[in-house]
């Protein structure tokens, strides 16, 4: 009657080799560690290089002055910092709301319908389009017909890159909100828009803000789309008139231009700009993730 008695008539079981199992385990674990270590090492190397070469460029002039004329000493990237901020901000106020409402349509209204499925497919394709195509698109749309480069056309190009990123992220986050919450709001007699904005979006707000910030950061460091649109400039942006009407200074294109110069102090200025971008992107990423870790209650 013992439960452990071997079943009658069956051959005894042959145990697998413990040694082999351990060997395979060790091999796979250590390759995973090695791959991770190489990745982290390369990343660390990049940050280290940029930091050691760029930090020397950081002084008051770097943040307050125009780039030097010719090979004059001194100077800074203040106009580029402002230009990049304005171009990115312009992209955000177009791209984020469109992406947000697109995501609301997809997750709350369109769902599995034909229109929504089509939009999702297009979004996925645009997501994979190289960013330089976005630049050419804005070039054809805004620069060619008006015969001049502009910061605004750069914002449009960046918004075009930002839109699918925001749509996809926001839809994923809204889909995490349990249906029971939607039903509860509607069961209280709330109209559909009120249930969506007041309860569903509110429940997902942490994730949505994180997604939005990361979408902005994602495009802030783009260079290719700016080649056709903002170009670059050695002068101050010149207010909204400059933003809409002419080449607009920006960090990434200027970094490229300066790095091609034969003078070491100009090259160092480029490293300083690179460092600024890395610090800003890294900083915003870390702060956002720390602030909005919550919001995953379900």
């Amino acid at each position: 009657m013992s439960a452990t008695a071997p079943a009658a008539g069956r051959p005894p079981l042959q145990a697998r080799s413990v040694f082999r199992r351990r060997l395979v385990n060790t091999a796979i674990t250590s390759s995973a560690w090695l791959a991770a270590a190489i990745g982290i090492f390369v990343m660390g190397w990049i940050v280290y290089t940029v930091f050691t070469r760029g930090i020397g460029a950081w002084n008051l002039a770097f943040f307050t002055q125009l780039p030097p004329v010719g090979n004059d000493p001194g100077g800074g990237l203040a106009n580029c910092i402002i230009g990049t901020l304005v171009i990115t901000f312009g992209a955000a106020i177009v791209g984020l709301p469109l992406g947000f409402f697109g995501a609301i349509y997809l997750s709350e209204f369109g769902r599995a319908g034909r229109v929504a499925t089509g939009i999702r497919a297009v979004t996925n394709i645009v997501l994979g389009v190289p960013s330089i195509i976005a630049g050419m698109f804005a070039y054809a749309l805004l620069v060619l017909p008006r015969h001049h480069f502009s910061g605004f056309s750069a914002s449009v190009a960046l918004a075009f890159i930002m839109l699918p990123v925001m749509t996809r992220t926001a839809e994923d986050i809204l889909n995490l909100v349990p249906n029971e919450l939607r039903e509860s709001a509607l069961a209280m007699g709330a109209p559909r828009w009120k249930a969506t904005l007041g309860v569903v979006v509110k429940a997902a707000r942490g994730g949505l803000i994180t997604g939005a910030i990361l979408a902005v950061v994602r495009v802030a460091g783009e260079t290719a789309p700016l080649l056709f649109t903002a170009l670059s400039s050695q002068y101050w942006m010149g207010g909204l008139k400059g933003y809409f009407g002419g080449p607009t200074p920006n960090l990434t294109k200027t970094i490229f231009d300066l790095s091609q110069q034969p003078y070491s102090h100009l090259v160092q200025l480029a490293w300083g700009g690179a460092l600024l971008i890395i610090v800003a992107v890294l900083g915003v990423n870390v702060v956002t993730r720390l602030l909005f870790q919550r919001g995953k209650e379900w």
Binding site: G113, M188, E297
Partner: protein, 292 residues
């Protein structure tokens, strides 16, 4: 007096664990509202006639007929997947959130067919509150949770609003526990408290009928006891339809019970009759745990 608990197999909810020890015996007083003559005399808050329900092409309810009597608790019992939730979700048309779901037939609320196309869903849902299986506080403070329906449906001054929030929390048997936490998020409460918050939130909008879909299945025993007590109190002011897979619960709190099986209502009657003297063999098999 016959103890109707004697007839209920405690293992019936969970047939796999048929040999677990018996729980302590429950004291149950039959509610006393259940004679056949009383049933006929009582007004119906809601009458269901010829109700069919479809998930796409798949039919889930077949020709349901049911009377939900005013100021009584009507329990809906039956095995998992028999259509209890589907049936209840017709009472406030919440299923319409999903495009492929459809109900046909009549659900008469105070004599008006709510399935008719002219029905205003927002005022229907103000009159018919609903509590779901999983507590679902809104992502806002305890106060704002309760005020949600009030602000939406009524014009109230600030002081009237706080008065009504307090009143709803008291009627939801939650006031003592949360009166110092009104500004804290609803999600910070315990599971049982969250469910009573949802009940208070529904009550605040002054509903006439309250639907509860297995409101205790995600709640611990102490929380469950509180909610059951609350249900018994609430029926003096409201009409309640309660879905439960817990037959002791149905026996404890309800006046009338409908037994569902495979989308059909097999038997409907006074709770004591259903549990003591079921007319149908299937009902008897289910409540005594001899199912399947």
């Amino acid at each position: 007096m016959v103890d109707i608990m004697d007839r209920i197999d405690p293992g019936a909810d969970n047939a796999v664990e048929s040999e677990r020890p018996l729980p302590p015996r429950l004291e149950v007083t039959p509610t006393g509202h259940d004679s056949a003559t009383e049933f006929d005399a009582l007004p119906s808050k809601l009458s269901v006639r010829d109700l069919d329900f479809f998930y796409g092409k798949q039919q889930a309810l077949f020709d349901n007929h049911l009377e939900v009597k005013e100021h009584r608790v009507t329990a809906i019992i039956g095995p998992s997947g028999c259509g209890k939730s589907t049936h209840l979700r017709c009472y406030n048309r919440i299923y319409e959130l999903y495009r492929d779901q459809k109900a046909t037939g009549e659900v008469m609320l105070d004599g008006r067919n709510i399935l008719a196309s002219g029905t205003d869903l927002l005022s229907l849902r103000r009159r018919v509150g609903m509590i779901f299986q999983k507590p679902s506080p809104f992502p806002m403070t305890v106060f704002d949770n309760i005020a949600y329906g009030l602000r939406m449906h009524f014009k109230l001054s600030r002081s009237e609003l706080s008065e009504r929030v307090e009143d709803a929390l008291k009627r939801g048997a939650l006031w003592e526990e949360v009166k110092d936490k009104l500004k804290e998020p609803g999600l910070a409460l315990s599971g049982g408290q969250q469910q009573r918050l949802c009940i208070a939130r529904a009550i605040a909008a002054e509903p006439e009928l309250i639907l509860m879909d297995e409101p205790c299945s995600a709640i611990d025993p102490v929380g469950t006891a509180k909610i059951e007590e609350l249900v018994s109190e609430l029926k003096s002011s409201y009409t309640i339809a309660l879905v439960t897979h817990n037959m002791q619960q149905a026996a404890r709190v309800s006046d009338y019970t409908a037994f569902f099986f495979e989308g059909r209502i097999i038997e409907f009657g006074a709770t004591s009759q259903i549990f003591e003297n079921p007319a149908q063999k299937q009902t008897e098999d289910y409540i005594t745990g001899r199912f399947g």
